[in-house]
């Protein structure tokens, strides 16, 4: 087991290195950079001549090290990340990339975790209900709804819910996390109520698919466990049905779901991404999107790298968790 853990951790180091290189390269793929746009802006708006604007931009390139070759730029970037926690400069926001990300990470986490918690809880409960009432009307209905839930593209769910709220239920303002009049207000009861009125929307939208997924997994797991020998033995021993169900079956059916928690984080972060873009939330998703579109290279790269690193570590954790709770897994 120890050897297994060590081996897994040793694997992760070269993996992280490779991943960071690829993140950097991908982000550099589109031709031009942010400063190309600035250059044309200088020409058209500030009325500088071609030469002057070129010179200014070249100057800026030099200050930010953009004139260097790609491998050198990568090395500088990764060195600063590892040694100083400095992810580079975001031209779009005119501040260090990590500041932009940290600022927005707070809301991302709050929304993502709420969506995740709620969808796990609701999904598990429906899954348990469905499995214990197999082939009942409720089971069929929830299985069917789960299929529907998985068939909606997230952005479309967002569109539909927004449409319903605005044009059917006449909700005055959707999108963002507060109505315009509260943006600058200090926190008080009214602002909090307004916040809640905005907050539940992305949580529900990005939770839909999660509920469906968790429900299906839980139902399938439970049915598997029910069929397994020791639940049948436990039943035969005359224990009460409910005790069998909760003590043995549910605990066992939860294994894969617990293991999944390790990788859940990056999935929930990217899960809320589309919703956040459609609803224009102050989270990392829209910032990443803008950074991509406007070639705010280091911001986009840093975000991609962060989510990837979280995913790699999440994968590692869930492998280790699985190996720990399920000793049958072979360590090779």
């Amino acid at each position: 087991m120890i050897s297994y853990i060590i081996r897994r951790i040793l694997y992760v180091i070269p993996l992280l290195l490779a991943v960071s290189i690829v993140c950097f390269v991908i982000i550099q793929l589109p031709p031009g950079d942010f400063l190309t746009a600035i250059e044309s802006q200088l020409k058209s708006q500030a009325g500088l001549s071609e030469e002057e604007s070129r010179k200014m931009v070249d100057e800026m390139r030099k200050t930010y090290g953009l004139d260097k070759s790609m491998p050198v730029q990568y090395l500088i970037w990764i060195k600063n990340i590892v040694t100083k926690g400095d992810f580079g400069y975001s031209f779009g926001y005119r501040k260090p990339a990590q500041e932009v990300i940290w600022e927005r990470l707070k809301w991302t986490m709050i929304i993502a975790l709420s969506a995740h918690l709620i969808s796990t809880l609701v999904g598990l409960l429906i899954g348990i209900y469905s499995a214990t009432h197999q082939y009942s009307l409720g089971d069929h209905l929830s299985t069917f709804l789960a299929f529907i839930g998985l068939s909606f593209p997230e952005f479309f769910t967002a569109l539909v819910i927004m449409y319903l709220l605005v044009f059917r239920f006449r909700v005055p303002h959707v999108g963002g996390l507060s109505s315009p009049e509260y943006v600058l207000a200090t926190w008080n009861w009214a602002k909090f109520v307004d916040f809640l009125q905005h907050f539940w929307i992305p949580v529900v939208i990005s939770g839909v698919a999660g509920v469906a997924r968790n429900m299906r997994v839980m139902r399938a797991n439970l049915l598997d466990v029910f069929r397994s020998q020791y639940v049948i033995t436990a039943r035969a021993k005359g224990l009460k049905e409910r005790i069998v169900l909760y003590k043995h079956a549910v605990v066992n059916a939860l294994h894969p779901i617990i293991a999944y928690q390790g990788v859940a984080l990056p999935y929930i972060v990217q899960g809320t991404m589309v919703t956040a873009i459609v609803l224009n939330l102050p989270t990392t998703g829209p910032a990443f999107y803008d950074a991509l579109v406007f070639q705010d290279t280091l911001l986009a790269g840093s975000f991609l790298l962060m989510v990837t690193v979280v995913l790699v570590i999440g994968n590692l954790l869930s492998d280790l968790i699985l190996a720990w709770i399920d000793p049958r897994i072979r360590y090779d």
Binding site: L15, P30, I277, V293, V307, V312
Partner: protein, 376 residues
């Protein structure tokens, strides 16, 4: 123990096969029993037919612009006219544009003065299946009338026709991507498990590497790198390749597991014993025995890619106009106000949901049926 006098010479052993039903029959029997699987298959077939014969089902050219008809709403099909009289042949009324006297908004009203009966297999705009000019369409109305079942988009293009055409693009990009992914996944999985050792090590590290990336951000970052100057066809191919090259890892893992267990079976050894080459063993012994897994995963990859394509295109990162796909069509719904006033522009979304649902039903049914010896 063998007794000499028990010798039953081979006369009575000129034997008949004993057990019935081939694998495929068992699968089909189990598949048939699942209602959702059948519904899924039907939905998928309908969508495929609509996409393949898109122009035939479209009375109007999906690319033809008519600015005066911008956002004109869907027309209803009637059986009863305004006097309540029943007509066996369904008909439509033309729409006429009016200004609301109070709000000065443009509103469309049915012009009940003239009925336009719907005829089937009529001649209309020309399209060229395989280069042969053809004007045949499933349905249409006589001259002077119009039949825009799903209304018009911003530029006054027939949305029904655009959805048919978009379906063609959305389905084919997902299908081709899924096939590419199935091909790579099954090859990598098989080779990895069959050769083992260092080959396996390297391929597994590649799989792990690809699985380390969060899907959506990676796809977003890669699709934005597709040069804006490329033609629609190149963008289509690029996105398709992106899907194919990045979505094969789950299949590779599954096939690898399956081949690892097959490799232990004597029939693979028997092929080697007969002198079969590695390629022959892979293509005649290993892959055919994984085919059910491959087909199931292929079926489940398609809806996933449809969702991915529509999301990327909706965000403006995937396919671009003038290319038409369901995701591209939904770009018009990005503005909530537009969608509020012209709800029909969200209809492509319904097509996405129905198609994805169909594939999910089908794939799920296939997965259960592919293992006919299990009880589930």
């Amino acid at each position: 123990m063998i007794l000499k006098n028990e010798r039953s010479r081979k006369k009575n052993s000129f034997a008949e096969p004993v057990k019935g039903e081939a694998y495929i029959q068992l699968v089909w029997r189990k598949f048939k029993r699942s209602k959702t699987a059948i519904i899924g298959a039907i939905l998928v077939i309908i969508m495929a037919i609509l996409a393949i014969f898109a122009p035939f089902f479209s009375p109007y050219n999906p690319l033809k612009i008519d600015h005066r008809a911008s956002f004109s709403p869907p027309q209803r099909i009637h059986f009863f006219d305004d006097k309540g009289k029943f007509h066996l042949r369904p008909f439509v009324y033309n729409l006429k544009l009016e200004l609301d006297p109070q709000t000065w908004k443009r509103i469309y009203r049915e012009d009940t003065s003239k009925r336009f009966p719907i005829y089937f297999l009529v001649r209309g705009w020309e399209y060229k299946p395989f280069g042969i000019p053809c004007k045949l369409h499933l349905f249409g109305v006589p001259k002077g009338g119009s039949i825009h079942l799903f209304g018009m988009d911003n530029y006054g293009r027939d949305l029904w026709a655009r959805i048919m055409l978009g379906g063609r693009v959305s389905l084919s990009i997902a299908l081709l991507g899924a096939i590419l992914s199935a091909f790579i996944g099954s090859m990598v999985g098989t080779i990895s498990a069959y050769y083992g050792g260092i080959t396996d090590m390297i391929l597994q590290r590649i799989v792990e590497f690809l699985q380390s990336f969060p899907q959506l951000p990676l796809w977003m970052a890669l699709s934005i790198a597709i040069p804006a100057t490329w033609s629609s066809l190149y963008v289509f191919i690029a996105i398709m390749m992106l899907f194919g090259l990045l979505s094969w890892t789950p299949l590779a893992r599954e096939v690898r597991g399956k081949v690892l267990s097959l490799r232990e079976q004597e029939f693979v050894l028997s092929a080697k014993e007969a002198g079969a080459s590695d390629a022959r063993i892979i293509f005649k012994y290993l892959i055919p025995n994984c085919l059910s897994h491959i087909i199931v995963i292929l079926t489940l990859t398609i809806p996933w890619l449809i969702l991915a394509e529509s999301t990327l295109s909706f965000l403006g990162l995937g396919l671009q106009p003038p290319m038409v796909s369901w995701g591209v069509l939904l770009q018009e719904a990005q503005n909530l106000q537009t969608m509020g006033r012209h709800l029909w522009i969200a209809i492509p979304g319904a097509f996405i949901v129905i198609t994805v649902l169909g594939f999910n039903f089908l794939g799920d049914g296939l997965r259960d049926a592919a293992d006919p010896y299990s009880r589930r």
